[in-house]
Symmetry: C2
Subunit: 185 residues, 2 copies
């Protein structure tokens, strides 16, 4: 059983981080989060050894929700291809509303492995199922891995919102359309 102040600070930190992420993006300086939470830097790093751990903790719920929504779609009556499309939409919504999250997901910095690992471990299986269902229905090509697709969608969402001339959602839609078997002339 952790000490009371530790538990309290953990909650305080999560709230502060969530608020700062919304205001300044996920790239916000650690100091800013510490100040907002009214704690020292050491406290942050004891609770969340790496920045990725903090991010994962903040967004865990939403990722889980996305996972479950995928399972629901899979069990639902929708056409497999439409189900895939709707689920991808959810994923895109999640990414574009978190400024800078997508950018971090594809960072080569090794300290973000945890982020990578947690998010993808949750989402890849669901995506794989959705892909498999659509492939089984013969709607899409069967040679695309869930991991690959998610990375691609994530990449397309990088910088979304910053640039009025760039609509990530639309490009993702086009990418998904590209999964369909091409019209055999």
């Amino acid at each position: 059983m952790p000490r009371a102040d530790a538990r309290r600070n953990q909650k305080t930190l999560l709230d502060a981080a969530a608020a700062v992420f919304v205001e300044s993006g996920v790239d916000a300086p650690v100091r800013e989060i510490a100040t907002r939470a009214g704690v020292g830097m050491g406290t942050i790093y004891r609770h969340f050894p790496t920045r990725a751990d903090l991010i994962v903790a903040v967004y865990r719920h939403q990722v889980d929700a996305c996972t479950e929504a995928g399972q629901a779609l899979l069990a639902g009556p929708a056409d497999p291809y439409d189900a895939l499309g709707q689920w991808i939409d959810l994923f895109v919504d999640f990414l574009v509303t978190k400024h800078g999250l997508a950018a971090l997901m594809r960072s080569d910095n090794t300290s973000f492995e945890a982020l990578h690992t947690y998010f993808l471990d949750r989402l890849v299986p669901v995506c794989a199922d959705l892909l498999a269902a659509a492939a089984a229905a013969g709607t899409i090509r069967a040679d695309v891995a869930a991991y690959e697709l998610l990375r691609g969608v994530g990449n397309l969402c990088v910088g979304a919102g910053r640039d009025p001339g760039y609509d990530a959602r639309r490009l993702v839609t086009i990418l998904i359309a590209g999964l369909r078997h091409t019209p055999v002339a």
Copy 2:
């Protein structure tokens, strides 16, 4: 007419930067380039006020080559859709062989405007022509802007090479396939 040592240093810097970019990626510390070139930091910043200016200078030739290749494809006998595909392949080759370049292109950091500006000013017109030709032939949808497409392709190339499970080329191919008019059931 610039002074002789200035011209000499400019050349030296470009060579050093090119070498360092290959070895350590475009994110390499400025100090590293300065050391490699055997000059002080001030010298770099006088010749290239921002890092983006240096990058542009290093890759200017290749971007120009890509532009011209696009014009050649446009004038050539190839089917417009194939021409577009081949040109995009060239663009992708350019991006994936420059570690980290794609990542910088979509950076929200304002100091990279120059990079954005130069590269896109060159490539957008060519891409627009290729898109227009394919659209005129009725092969692809006509509502996608060149800028949007290039940004999308650039984003898909982020992190290419680092991750063996992610094949940027393939995803780009799928994206381009998504431009085709979908088989109307």
